[in-house]
Amino acid sequence: MSVAAVPTMLRRPPRLLGIVAGTDHKSLGLRMFVTAFGFFLGAGLLALIMRLELAAPGMQFTSKQGYDELFTIHGSTMFYLFATPAALALGVYLVPLQIGASSLAGARWALGGWWLTILGGIVMWSGFFTARGAADVGWYAFDPLSDSPHTPGVGMDFWIFGVILSALGAILVAACLLATVVRKRAPGMTMLRIPVFTWSMVVTVLMVLTAFPALVVAMGLLYAQRSLGGVLKVPGGPLTYQHLFWFYGHPVVYVVFFPFLGAVAEAIAIFSGRRFFGYPALVVSLLAFAAGSMSVWGHHMFTTGAISNRYFALTSTGLLIPAGVEYFDCLATMWRGVIRLRTPMLFALGFLAMFVIGGVTGIWVASPPLDYHETDSYFVVAHFHYTLFGGSVMGMFCAIYLWFPKVTGALLREGLGRVHFWLTVLGLNLTFFPMFFLGQDGMPRRVADYPSSMGWEGLNTLSTVGSDVVALSVLVFLVNVAVSLTVRRPAGPDPWGGHTLEWATDSPPPPRNFRALPPVRSYAPLLDLAEETPA
């Protein structure tokens, strides 16, 4: 099996210093992921408070100002501090392993990126402790709502700094990942042999490198506007800000989608016992999807009346084509496969089922006449939570259950995993499906209260119960992790019958990743080996 010797193993660094300053990509990826998950729990807590407030008419737990802060920091944390860093963390851990590299290119830059994200989070959340509270203008902070006269206080400025730091952090990590794929592939690992997950990371980091600078510029302009004045007060100034923001703001939805789609694709191939179907079509569709998703930002601005609605409706609807190719590839991989319904596969199937609801309602709001009706209503909240929770979070749990044995050397408990999965599906649908009806009925988003005469209480209460079920599901997951790490069931190098190189090394992998590399002749080298070996 061995064709390439690998350099001598390095000693592991001291524990505390290793956590702070270690550059090994596995340790760094794990630290990035744990940090991101911590922010996920924090943002989830804020969501629970919001849902409690909305369960019944009247103000129960927060003030209106406090509620505005909650939804702002919830959304900001989910995008800037959880979903993007978690998606990149998966790449930092897995990409070098999947392409047969011994390390991450520019690992110190990636370490810096992780620290910038953490510091960005601390700065952003510290706004809660300032005199006027945290930022309260939504995760996009449109001007003039976010300028000094309308939103005074240092909490808003801290939010801007937090966004800048986390965006720069993401850019640094993305650059390292791209350099790793370009420079560090193992012998034989051509671009058309890199695994599906790694391709999903390639398009992700391309989007980070090309879209996130627009966010940094937008934040710079906003801060200049707040401290100096006049910057965005020229004709078209607020629209310029919106263009810059949404040029980042829509691609980021795919930045936090593609890596998890890649994870789901890997899980589907492994648990169907088949080579991933339509690899070349998937590669082309990923590239087309990524480029297309950078050409749809204007659909967030339909109601401004200042953009070409026809173009952005066309490109937004056009995303159906690459998305359809990817769905078709996943379904065709399962066709006539020997499907094993283990927890990662359950989450993969859940991802496909739930994301399609978000996708189809996305086509709905990509139509300007319908968008005019639904904009700023709970319909939009339901739509994007089906893409972000139904897609990204389900995909993230698929990735966790799939690669946890590789990262820790221990298997997660299957029974608790199934409970976690079904609670997630139940909670997700209970929380977000009622919001479609609330939105259709005219309930606006970003409100802390609603009149009892509107008849929205029942659906809101149902939604709040759903959010509690989601919280319970996360609790079950944390118990599963704790139990599985305490009473360990050894996983071995390849517990699932994986297809890609990370399954050819120990669990967890040694410091330089591989003692020896198998030959690489396709995007599923271990499957090639298995097929060559006589039964």
């Binding site: 300053a21 690992a107 110190r108 700094f161 794929v181 050409s295």
Partner: protein, 115 residues
């Protein structure tokens, strides 16, 4: 598919696609200059990265050098963050941030230089 066999070519194709979409927006749908400038700038970054990745590889030993610990890096990030937040909090924090950043860069250059 051979177009995507090499990373720089795949990136270049992606950049061309971005520009094409931006051009359609500008020329066919008569959008403003900013609506074209944004995808054009993104394509520019992509082309730059593609060109950078064309550079010949350095010697293998140099590439394989990995510093397992980099205390200078978190210090640099902390210094940068302090300097940034100091813009709002006060000059004293900017100075502390600048000091930390200088110290970190010193550590990175003197102690953690590859080679």
């Amino acid at each position: 598919m051979r177009l995507f066999e090499r990373a720089p070519r795949a990136m270049a194709v992606w950049g061309v696609y971005l520009i094409a979409l931006g051009a359609v927006l500008w020329f066919v749908f008569f959008a403003d200059a900013l609506s074209f400038a944004l995808p054009a700038a993104a394509a520019g970054i992509t082309f730059a990265v593609a060109v950078l990745s064309l550079r010949p590889e350095r010697r293998r030993e140099e590439l394989e050098h990995v510093t397992d610990l980099s205390p200078g890096t978190p210090l640099a990030a902390l210094g940068f963050a302090c300097a940034l937040v100091g813009l709002e909090v006060g000059e004293w924090l900017v100075l502390i941030g600048a000091g930390l950043l200088g110290l970190a860069l010193g550590i990175l250059v003197v102690r953690e230089r590859p080679g």
